[in-house]
Amino acid sequence: MRVGTGTRITLRVVALGYLFVLVAVPIGVILWRAFEPGLATFIASISTPAAISALNLSLLIIAIVVPLNVVFGVVTALALVRGRFRGRGLLQAVVDLPFAVSPIVVGVSLIMLWGVNGWFGAIDRAGFQVIFGLPGMVLATIFVTLPFVVREVEPVLHEIGTEQEQAASTLGADRWQTFWRITLPAIRWGLTYGVVLTVARALGEFGAVIMVSSGFPGVSQTLTLLVHARYIDDHNTYGAYAAATLLMGIALLVLLLMTLLDRKRSDR
C-alpha cells in the first residue's frame, strides 16, 4: 500500500502518542516518583524485611509454577497436536478457560474448593493449610498461567510435524531419546517464550492471589500484594511506588532476556 508522506507522519504521531499516553506516561511517573528522593531512599524502601520477603515469595511461587507448567504444558500440547482421542475439543476449550475467567473468580472458586468449609476442606482441617497459605497462591497462579506454555508450544509442534521423529526412530532412537534429542530442541523456542510469559504473568498476578492469601506482611505477601498493601492499607505512597518499580524491573529483566534469546534464535 502506498501512503502519502503527510498521512504517514500523521499515523506515526497518532501511534506514538497513543503508546506514550497509555504506556510511557504511567510508567514514567512511577519511575520518577520512585527515584525522586534519591537512590538510597529507594534501596531502603525495597530492602525492608517485608519487601525482601515479598520478593522471595514471588520468586518462590514462580520457581514452583514454572516447572509444573512446563511439564504439564508440553504433555498437553503433545496430546492436543498428536493425540487422537475423544474429548480433544473439550481439552482445547479447557486450556483457554483461564484466559476467559476473571482471576477474582478463580480466587473465589479456590476458596470454595479448598477452604475450611469447601469440598476438600478435610485437608485444611487435617492441618495442611491450602487457602491463606502458599499452596493456595501456587494453585491460583497455576490456574491463570496454565495456557501460556501450551499455546506457545502447540503451533511449533504442528509446524515441525512428525517426520523428524520418525527419522530418529528409524535411526534407532527410542521414544525417550527421540523426545530429548529431537522434539524438545525443536520446540525449545516456543517453550522459552511460554515460560517467559508464565513468569511475567505469575509475577503480576493480583486478583486471584489476593483472594487466597492471608496477606500478612513478611509472611504471605507477594510483590503485587505488597504494592497494594502499602498504597491502600499503609498509605505509604512512596513505598508503593518503590515496590512497583522493583516489580517492573524484574519484568523488564525477563523481557530483556527474551529479546536476547530471540536474537540468538534468529542468528541461526
Partner: protein
Amino acid sequence: MITVTAARKHYGSFLALDDVDIDIPSGSLTALLGPSGSGKSTLLRAIAGLEGLDGGTVTIDGRDVTAEPPQRRGIGFVFQHYAAFKHMTVRDNVAFGLTIRKRPKAEIAKKVDDLLEIVGLDGFQHRYPAQLSGGQRQRMALARALAVDPQVLLLDEPFGALDAKVRTDLRQWLRRLHDEVHVTTVLVTHDQEEALDVADRIAVLNHGRIEQVGDPVTLYERPANDFVMGFLGSVATLGGQLVRPHDIVLDRDRTTALALDAKVADSPGVITATVERVVPLGFEVRIDLRADSGERFAAQITRRDAAELGLHEGETIHARATSRSTVVDHDPALAI
C-alpha cells in the same frame, strides 16, 4: 532379502494395501512404481515399521520383523522432504544413529567423515540444514541413513521435492552409489522414467495391489496388462488393443508389406486412418491419426521413414502393429 506376505492395510474403510506379496532380492535396487495414492508409501512404511499392518508379515533377511518397531528392523529410511534435524549440524545429523548406539567418538568421527565424502558433502560438516540446498539436504539424509549400516535402504520419493536437473543428477548418483555400496534398496516413485533409469527391478502398484514385478525390459516389452503397459511408456489404442506408438508401421499401399506381414494371430490387423498432424520430435516423428472408426491414435516413426513416406495432413494411410510389437488387450476396468 525382504519378503512381504499377504500385507493388508486399511485406513478407516479405505483399503490401502490389498494382499500384497513381494520379494525384494538382496543387493537389488527395486522401484515401487505407481500413480499417486496407489499405496507405495504405505507399503514402504510397512516394511520400515513406521506403519502397522492389519494382516500379513514382513521378513528382512529371514527374520520376521512384523512385530518389531522401526528401531529394531535394521533399516535406513529417507523421506521425500528430507526430515533433516534442523537444530543439528550436518555432522551431528549423520552421526545421530551412531551417537544413539553409543559408539566411540573416534569411530563416529571417522565414519561420518567417510560418508560425507561419499555423498559429496565434505567440508559441510559444520553447516546447518537450513544452509544447504535441497539436493545437499537429501544427500545428507542419505548419509545419515547409511551411517548405521542398514540391511535395507528405503527411499520414499527421495527426489520428488527437487527440480528436474538436480533430480536426474541425483538419481544417476544414487545408481552409482548403489553399485558401490550394494545395500538392498527400495525406491518409491511415481515417475516411470526414474524407475526405468535407476532400478534393476520394478514393482508396479495400482489401487493397493501389485500388478507386475520384473526387470525394466520385461515390464516394458511384456506388460502383464494394459495398466502396466500404459504406466511404463506411451501407448496408442489401435483396433481395441494397446500398442507402443513406435511399434506401428504405416504404408500407403494396403496390399504390400503391411498386409503380407499380417500373420500374427492376435495383432490388430490393418487399420485405415487419416493423417491429422505430423509432429517432428527430433530423431522421431509423431503422426497423429484418426481411424475410420473415429478412434484417434498416434504412431511414432523415424525421420527417415517419415521422409520416405512423405506424409501430408489429410491423406489416407494404412496402419498396423509390427509383428514383434508389444500388444495388450484393452480392458477398460484396468484403465488408469
